[in-house]
């Protein structure tokens, strides 16, 4: 086994973002506000989204030349962790990833055209997944030449905030190669977006049928699309891991508060070791998830992710998925009869845990790839 990279740090900027985000997310996303959005169409508060843009958070990883602050993807991690802790769901992660793809592809014209708008709050979303299989490499959606333009055929699933997005970053097979291209919402046909029902009601996603959509060929991103897709999947895994680490802490706090106040058989139930000890396990899992998340945040860079960064992102996602799943499962159980009700906030976390674990690959998906990296 080769020597392990153990870098972990927190830059001054990351520390400041952590402070600001902690306060912002607490103020804007108290539980009643989260619940009020569950049944809404968009799933997020447009006003809060605008504030996020004004804070410059959509541009933390965008170069200064395009209106961002150029701090790198690692700087988005504390923000996303805080959003996770307050269950603040917005198109933030998916929009960040589209901006990241444009920069990684070094498609200057596309960057010039789209990044400033994205930094300003234009919603962009990723359309990569075609089935339940996060490990599928073949792209069924095709782009073909049609009189100087490109015409698409095929559909994508779990496209986040598709109904609100103005811009889609779509993976396609073009001339037998994997490519990425930008598709404006205006290019989609009537009824192309079918909203899906998400197990986590703070999320929004759709199945999007791109068949018949036509864009000019300058919408194709340059660069090695397969490599960019690989990096996007790793960064997506890291971002959802950071969010899950935050949600795990919040879920733990919820349960701990209940164990400190609920009495049964004459004792506070938190004094019983059968409840206390699993909570310590939740704490340790959460701590490990945070360590991996900030380790990965230290290693990711603008360059193509190296093996150490890949390994760190995968570990972060594997650990955080399991941590949230366990914390949420115990949250429902330890709340007893209340925990079984929709009214109890434990439901928010157990639903989120199921959604988050699959996003950008579940724990086993990542461990399987880690095995190749670490054992062969």
């Amino acid at each position: 086994m080769k020597k392990s990279n153990m870098a972990i740090g927190l830059s001054e900027e990351q520390g400041m973002l952590l402070d600001t985000a902690r306060e912002f997310c607490r103020d804007r996303s108290a539980i009643p506000a989260v619940r009020a959005l569950l049944q809404s169409e968009s799933g997020f508060d447009a006003q809060v989204w605008q504030e996020i843009a004004e804070l410059g958070w959509l541009g933390v990883a965008v170069s200064e030349a395009h209106g961002g602050s150029g701090l790198g993807m690692g700087s988005a991690i504390p923000i996303v962790e805080c959003m996770g802790k307050r269950l603040l769901s917005t198109p933030y992660i998916t929009t960040l990833l589209v901006a990241e793809a444009l920069q990684r592809a070094q498609s200057h014209a596309l960057c010039e055209r789209h990044l400033p708008a994205i930094v300003g709050g234009q919603i962009a979303t990723l359309a990569l997944l075609e089935s339940e299989d996060w490990g599928e490499e073949t792209i069924e959606l095709t782009a073909s030449d049609a009189g100087g333009d490109l015409q698409l055929a095929g559909s994508k699933t779990q496209v986040a905030y598709a109904a609100q997005a103005e811009l889609f970053l779509v993976s396609a097979t073009y001339q037998n190669e994997a490519r990425l291209l930008l598709v404006p919402a205006s290019a989609l046909g009537e009824g192309a977006v079918r909203r899906q029902t998400n197990i986590d009601e703070t999320r929004r996603s759709s199945r999007v049928d791109f068949t018949g959509a036509t864009v000019s060929s300058d919408h194709l991103l340059s660069g090695d699309a397969a490599a960019i897709i690989r990096d996007l999947r790793l960064l997506g895994a890291l971002l959802y891991a950071a969010e899950a680490a935050g949600s795990t802490a919040a879920c733990m706090d919820l349960t701990v508060d209940y164990l400190k106040t609920r009495k049964q058989f004459g004792h506070l139930i938190g004094s019983y070791q059968s409840l206390k000890h699993p909570m310590v396990e939740v704490l340790c899992d959460m701590d490990n998830a945070r360590s991996f998340v900030y380790h990965a945040a230290t290693l990711v860079s603008e360059a193509s992710l190296d093996e150490d960064a890949e390994s760190a992102c995968r570990m972060a996602k594997a650990q955080a998925s399991e941590a949230l799943k366990f914390a949420a499962d115990r949250a429902v159980q330890f709340h007893g009869g209340m925990g079984f009700t929709y009214e109890c906030d434990a439901q928010l976390y157990i639903r989120r845990a199921q959604w988050s674990q699959q996003a950008f690959g579940d724990a086993y998906h990542h461990r399987k790839r880690l095995a190749s990296l670490l054992l062969d």
Partner: protein, 404 residues
Amino acid sequence: MSDHAPSASELADFRAEVSGWLEEHNPADPGFLLPQTFMEVGSDQQLDFLREWQHKLWSAGYLGVHWPEQYGGRGMHPAFQNEINRELRRHRTPITFNVIGLGWAGPLILDIGTEEDKAKYIKGILSAEDIWCQGFSEPDHGSDLGNAQTRAVRDGDDYIVNGSKIWTTMGNYAKYMILLARTDPTTKRKYDGLSFFLSPMHGTGIDTRPIQKITGEYGFTETFFTDARIPASCLIGGEGNGWRVAMQTLQYERGAAAGAAGGQVQVRVSIADLIDEVRSVKRDGAPLLEDPVVRDRLVQLIMDEKALGLADKRSTLGDLNSDYPMSLLLSYKLRVSEYQRRMRQYGLEIQGGLGGLYVGDEDTIAGGFWQRAYFNNFATTIGGGTSQIQCNIIGEQVLGLPKS
């Protein structure tokens, strides 16, 4: 001890010198299993080997180099000892086994002992001539040190000691014991009635009974005091201050800068060792490491081990510890000991038929290292407060859950 902090180049030169020496003198495999920790010294053969090794290391000038020259050290800056410790680890040398002397009693005596104490004890600790043991735990009180009931009653120039201590590491080999005993049973706070002694182990009324462990080996004794007379000059830190002195003693373990003489306290066992050693093992007619279930489990263990290292570094980043400030520090013992238990247990499980053999059989992997390592690891999940007690402490102090 020199106050002058050495330059990076001085340290690098010194390190190279130590490394050169170790390349020549790091002992070859003696042909029998060596202890991974000082709690596992179970035979005269192991003892003689380790005693000779520690003596050799000290004679070469590589142990307790920051301790005063007149007592057997070299009066150097602690940074030099840290360099030596790193080299010992890197060369995977045998342990410096006189741990209670080097890491607990020695620094304590140097801190608060009399001139006479220092002259009498320190050199023997470094040279391994005098082996030390620790008498804190008692049969009925496990982790609850403050409740120690062994009595020491002043009688003229002596104390008369009655009671028993358990889990005395190397009790059968030790010449001295650091002993926590109750000199006053009437105090309001139980801690205030305790006193700390540098007690002889050889004398009328002091007996040891070896305890055979699950490994089949020895390493601990139970120690009985029956009207044992020890000189009053053995008292250190003053009567009634035993608890404070005991707590001070525990601080030295944290390294050379904290006062410990250094050396190699334990042979670290890593998942990397396990993976290397099972490469040749077969399962279903193919290499074990191609089995997807085994691979998944190994990755989980690799992650657990890595998380420990990352947590250690993260605990120094204030902004990433503000939510649950004591979490990483208080849970370290639990996480590391439980990880080692799981990892070593798995190290045995994946050996197939070979996991059914034991130390002494020539067909075992690495002489039965994993079999013994797994069993011995219970010393860490039980000793120093069981994992279950650790969970109570963490649950109550970090999460604020009500007392059990």
